[in-house]
C-alpha cells in the first residue's frame, strides 16, 4: 500500500468534549490525558485492520469531532 492510501485521522480539538468514547474504541490512536481540555491523537495514520473501528469512533463521537481521510496527514 502506498503511503497516500493510508487512512488518516483528524481530531477537531475545539469541538471535542473529552467524552473519551474514542479512547475506549482505539486506545492506540486516541488518548485523554488527565486534566487535558480535549482528547489527543497518539498517531495520525490508522492500520487497515482498524479502519472499521475508526469509522465507529467517528460515528460514536457525540461532539462529531473526529474525521477520517486518506492520503498523507
Amino acid at each position: 500500500m502506498s503511503k497516500s492510501d493510508e487512512t488518516v485521522v483528524r481530531l477537531d480539538q475545539v469541538r471535542c468534549r473529552s467524552y473519551g468514547i474514542c479512547v475506549s474504541i482505539l486506545p492506540d490512536v486516541f488518548d485523554l490525558p488527565p486534566d487535558a481540555k480535549s482528547a489527543v491523537l497518539l498517531r495520525h495514520e490508522v492500520d487497515p485492520d482498524d479502519v472499521e473501528d475508526l469509522q465507529e469512533a467517528v460515528r460514536a463521537c457525540p461532539a462529531q469531532a473526529i474525521f477520517q481521510g486518506s492520503g498523507p496527514s
Binding site: R17, Y19, Q64
Partner: protein, 427 residues
C-alpha cells in the same frame, strides 16, 4: 409538501434493494434518526429522505445536557451533531418543529402536526422517548432534564433555591446530582431501590457509587420510593414509602424514559413496551422500521427483545437500519451496548449488559480507589465490562464481547493484561 415534489419518480437503473423505495421518511431527528439517514446514503440510496424533528433546535448533542453543560456556567452552548452543510450534502430534507402524529400503513403516509401527509416507501420510527413524569397531587408535572430548555430551567432553579431534590438514582439522576453539587447546590437523591444504579451495575458497584456521592456531600435516601408529592415551587413535600416525608424547594425527576408510541396506537404496528422489531430493525409491517430509544428489538446477544437506551446504540442501530433499507437486506444488528457517565470527575464506561446475579471480577485496580475495571458474567458467559477511568483497557473486552467470548476468555485477557493478577494466581 416538502420532499415530495422533487421525487425522482421513474428511474431506469436501480439496485434490487432500492427498486420499490424512492421515498424514505425518518421520524425523529436525534441520534438514531440522523444515523438512519446517513446509513441510507452510505448504502447507496438515491431517493428522497425526509427527517422530521419535533424540537425546534437544530439537532444537537443531547448527552451533553446532563454531562458537560450541567457543569458549565453561562448560557448552554449546544453542539450541533450534524452541520447544516452535511445535511445538505447528504440531500436530507430536515423538517424541524414537525412531529409525526399518525402513521397510515395502508396508504403509506406519515401525518404531521402541521397536517401534512408525507408518503413513504419505507419509514424509520426513531422518535425516541419521553421522560417519565411525576405529577404532584395538585396536578403539576415536575421538571425533568431532556431538552435545552429543561437544562436552563434547572440551572436557574438550582441557583435560586440552592437546594434541589433529585428523584431517581439512575444515570441521569446521578449526573444531575454530581453536576449541580459541583456548583455548591445542596442535593438530596431519593431512589426506590437499595443502591444507586443497582439495576445496571449490581450491588458492589452500586455501593461504590453511593460512597462516591456521599463523600461529595450528596444525601442519598435509598429504598425510598416516592408515594406522592404535594406542595408547590419553593415548598414541596415528598411522601416516601416508609411514611416519612422530605421537604424541598425544588424537585427534578429522572425516573426513566418511556418510548414515544402513543401516536402509533391503532396504526397496525406491533407495540409492547416500545415498537417491537426483529434484530434487523423491522417491525411487523413491511417497510416500517424502528431504531433508537423507541424500539424494543431482538438482539443476538440477549434472550428477549430489549429497549437499549444508550446514545451510541441509537447511532449504530439507526445506521444499520438505513443500510438494510438501502441494500434491501435484513441483516441482524448485534452491536454491544455501551454507555458512559461522568460523575464527580470520574469517567465510567460500560460495554455489554450485566445480568441479575452475575459474578463480579475485579480485573484491574480496586473498588476502593478511583480507577478500576470489573467484569460481569455467569455460568461461563461473559456479559459486561465496567471501568472507572482506565478507558484504555476497555478495547480488548469490547472486542471479546462483540465476538461472543466466554468468561474464561475474559479472565485470560485479564490475567494477560494485568501482571498483578498473574502473580496473585501463581501464589
Amino acid at each position: 409538501m416538502p420532499g415530495a415534489s422533487h421525487l425522482p419518480r421513474f428511474r431506469s437503473v436501480v439496485t434490487a434493494g432500492l427498486k420499490e423505495t424512492d421515498n424514505v421518511v425518518v421520524v425523529g431527528a436525534s441520534a438514531a434518526g440522523l444515523a438512519a439517514a446517513d446509513g441510507l446514503r452510505e448504502g447507496g440510496f438515491e431517493g428522497s429522505i425526509t427527517v422530521l424533528g419535533s424540537e425546534l433546535h437544530h439537532p444537537y448533542d443531547r448527552p451533553t445536557l446532563s454531562k458537560g453543560l450541567l457543569l458549565g456556567r453561562g448560557d448552554p452552548e449546544l453542539l450541533e451533531i450534524r452541520s447544516a452543510e452535511r445535511i445538505k450534502d447528504n440531500r436530507i430534507s430536515l423538517l424541524l418543529g414537525h412531529q409525526a402524529v399518525g402513521l397510515d400503513i395502508d396508504r403509506k403516509y406519515v401525518i404531521t402536526n402541521h397536517g401534512e401527509t408525507l408518503p413513504w416507501d419505507a419509514v424509520v420510527l426513531a422518535c425516541g422517548g419521553r421522560a417519565r413524569v411525576l405529577t404532584t397531587v395538585e396536578g403539576e408535572a415536575l421538571p425533568v432534564l431532556r431538552t435545552p430548555d429543561d437544562l436552563r430551567a434547572l440551572r436557574r432553579a438550582a441557583a435560586r433555591h440552592g437546594e434541589v431534590t433529585v428523584v431517581g438514582a439512575g444515570l441521569i439522576g446521578l449526573e444531575i446530582a454530581a453536576g449541580l453539587s459541583a456548583h455548591g447546590v445542596s442535593i438530596t437523591v431519593v431512589h426506590d431501590t437499595e443502591r444507586p444504579m443497582d439495576g445496571i451495575v449490581g450491588p458492589e458497584l452500586g455501593q461504590v457509587i453511593f460512597d462516591l456521592h456521599s463523600k461529595h456531600g450528596v444525601q442519598l435516601k435509598m429504598s425510598s420510593a416516592v408515594t406522592s408529592v404535594t406542595g408547590e415551587l419553593g415548598a414541596y413535600t415528598l411522601h416516601l414509602v416508609d411514611g416519612s416525608t422530605h421537604q424541598t424547594p425544588y424537585v427534578v425527576v429522572g425516573i426513566g424514559v418511556d418510548p414515544d408510541v402513543d401516536w402509533l396506537l391503532g396504526s397496525g404496528v406491533a407495540l409492547d413496551g416500545g415498537v417491537l422489531t426483529d434484530a434487523a430493525g423491522q417491525t411487523n409491517v413491511p417497510g416500517v422500521w424502528a431504531a433508537g430509544d423507541v424500539a424494543r428489538s431482538a438482539h443476538p446477544m440477549f434472550g428477549e427483545p430489549l429497549r437499549i437506551e444508550h446514545w451510541t446504540h441509537a447511532v449504530e442501530k439507526g445506521r444499520h437500519v438505513g443500510l438494510n433499507i438501502a441494500r434491501g437486506t435484513e441483516e441482524s444488528f448485534g452491536g454491544v451496548p455501551y454507555f458512559w457517565s461522568d460523575q464527580f470527575g470520574r469517567r465510567f464506561h460500560s460495554y455489554g449488559r450485566r445480568a441479575p446475579g452475575d459474578e463480579i471480577f475485579v480485573a484491574e485496580g480496586s473498588l476502593s480507589t478511583d480507577e478500576f475495571l470489573v467484569l460481569f458474567g455467569r455460568d461461563g458467559e461473559f456479559h459486561s465490562v465496567f471501568a472507572s477511568g482506565l478507558s484504555r483497557s476497555l478495547r480488548g473486552y469490547r472486542k471479546l464481547l462483540a465476538r461472543g467470548g466466554t468468561w474464561d476468555d475474559a479472565l485470560d485477557l485479564a490475567h494477560a493484561s494485568n501482571p498483578d493478577l498473574a502473580r496473585a494466581a501463581a501464589r
